[in-house]
């Protein structure tokens, strides 16, 4: 997934004639990167810090969009892509699930890294076992398992089927982790701290500049997600095409 996606297909006339030429320069990716940089710049230099938390609070502008895009856009695609694959048996759906899983892993890693970086200076703890962070952590584990499983299976069709099964199971797991942790916390009240919930949009009181920056950050992350997904899908399609050609299917 680089900005300049050069075709590495062995040049066969059959291959070239039936496909549009692969873009040499990925405009969407470039745009997304620019958007991210712009949002970051705005967050760092043009947005006032939150009164209580200081500069460290600005990690929030990475943490929250990454969480929302990763958890609510990328992850569902893994499960839904897999489920649809089992129904329709279309390789494109498996490629969608595969690509989304890697991007979800990336975004969730960002969430899990920025969470402690935000938490420590502000609340004094690296980690808090609240429902959402815990769900994110376990979803991350499931996604790692998903990738390792994919790597361990050679046969394409078997790999797609098995991944779909894990994806569906993973989706079903999330509400149960949530419930387990919530019940755990009700029975064992944790000391009241400013949890990430307290400063998420809708629950926090954000100044207009902060809201705007958050909106820009969201747009930038969504653009990044789409660009990454498109690039990764292309790579997967090319890779599969090479395999088809080597097997002698025209």
């Amino acid at each position: 997934m680089s900005d300049s996606a050069v075709s590495s297909l062995p040049s066969t006339s059959a291959g070239r004639a039936s496909r549009a030429p692969v873009a040499v320069f990925d405009w969407l990716m470039a745009l997304a990167v620019v958007a991210i940089v712009a949002a970051a710049a705005r967050a760092i230099w043009f947005t006032p810090p939150e009164a209580l938390q200081g500069e460290a609070q600005k990690i929030f502008y990475i943490h929250v969009p990454a969480a929302v895009v990763g958890l609510y856009m990328a992850c569902p695609l893994v499960a839904i892509g897999g489920a649809m694959y089992l129904w329709l048996r279309d390789d494109r759906l498996d490629r969608l699930a595969e690509s989304s899983s890697e991007i979800a892993l990336l975004f969730l890693s960002i969430v899990l890294l920025t969470g402690p970086l935000w938490g420590k200076p502000i609340w004094g703890t690296w980690w808090t076992w609240d429902a959402r962070l815990t769900s994110t952590l376990f979803l991350w584990f499931v996604l790692v398992g998903y990738s390792v499983l994919r790597g361990a299976i050679e046969d394409r069709e078997q790999r797609a089927r098995y991944s779909a099964v894990v994806g569906i199971m993973g989706a079903l797991l999330v509400p149960f982790i949530h419930l387990s942790v919530d019940m755990f916390r009700t029975m064992h009240p944790q000391p009241i701290v400013l949890t990430p919930d307290a400063v998420t949009p809708g629950k926090a009181r954000l100044s207009p500049e902060m809201s705007a920056t958050l909106k820009y950050a969201f747009i930038a992350f969504i653009a990044l997600f789409v660009a990454l997904l498109r690039g990764r899908l292309r790579f997967a399609a090319l890779r599969d095409r090479v395999e088809h050609l080597e097997a002698g299917d025209a």
Partner: protein, 231 residues
């Protein structure tokens, strides 16, 4: 003469489970290995804590259910492993039996296996950690069965996939452990309450969560299993 007919899913499941248990009984080595692992684990956990700083009664529930998760994992491989050694699985796949019956049969034999290990591990924990248990022990047994059902459903499904891979012993725990959280946490929390004399009503929410998990994942695993043995 002998016209084949399709046997019911349940009777086929019982047939497969009985066959697996007969094989297990003949060799017994896997069961004893799991048992020894459990007892060793329970003992080791006792000795790594300072008993004056942390009371055994506080550690026991966590230890019991953690060991349960890992001992359960270890035992899951046999179910499909034995079918693959001599390709006996092909015989199952060529028979006029619903794929779900194969899953149920395997899950059933795994369930018997896991609850048998648990039936010895729980008294061992009570013994080693000097626990007092009243009627709570019966409820604990019930929780054990519910937890075993959850563990076995997910474990049987995942082991049917990992048995085909190269590093199955590592892959199975990696895939399955996240799914054991909604089993182990309620079981451990409920056990802790029961140990200090809590009434059934205090642990009811945890039991309800376990039941919900068992139903949801039991059904999901049965439905999804045919996709893992298609080829």
């Amino acid at each position: 003469m002998n016209q084949p007919r399709t046997a019911s899913t349940l009777s086929v499941a019982l047939l497969i489970a009985r066959k697996d248990l007969a094989i297990e009984y003949r060799t017994r080595s896997a069961f004893f290995a799991s048992l020894v692992f459990s007892l060793l684990g329970v003992s080791i956990f006792y000795m790594v804590w300072d008993p004056t700083a942390v009371r055994p009664i506080d550690i026991a529930p966590g230890v019991l259910w953690t060991i349960f998760a890992f001992a359960g994992l270890l035992g899951l491989h046999r179910a499909f492993g034995l079918e693959l050694q001599t390709r006996a699985m092909d015989g199952l796949l060529m028979a006029p039996v619903a794929r779900e019956a194969i899953f149920l049969g395997k899950a059933l034999s795994n369930l018997v296996y896991v609850t048998s290990v648990l039936a010895i591990t729980i008294p061992a924990v009570v013994l080693f950690y000097n626990l007092e248990f009243g009627s709570g022990l019966l409820i604990l047994g019930g929780i054990g069965v519910l937890a075993a059902i959850g563990l076995v459903s997910v474990g049987t499904l995942f082991s049917s996939m990992t048995v085909h891979t190269r590093f199955a012993e590592l892959l199975l725990p990696m895939l399955a452990l996240p799914f054991f959280i909604p089993v182990v946490v309620p079981a451990a929390q409920a056990s802790a309450k029961l140990l200090v004399g809590g009434a059934l009503s205090t642990v009811l929410p945890w039991i309800q969560l376990l039941v919900a998990f068992d139903i949801m994942f039991g059904v999901a695993c049965v439905l999804v299993f045919p996709f893992t043995i298609e080829d």
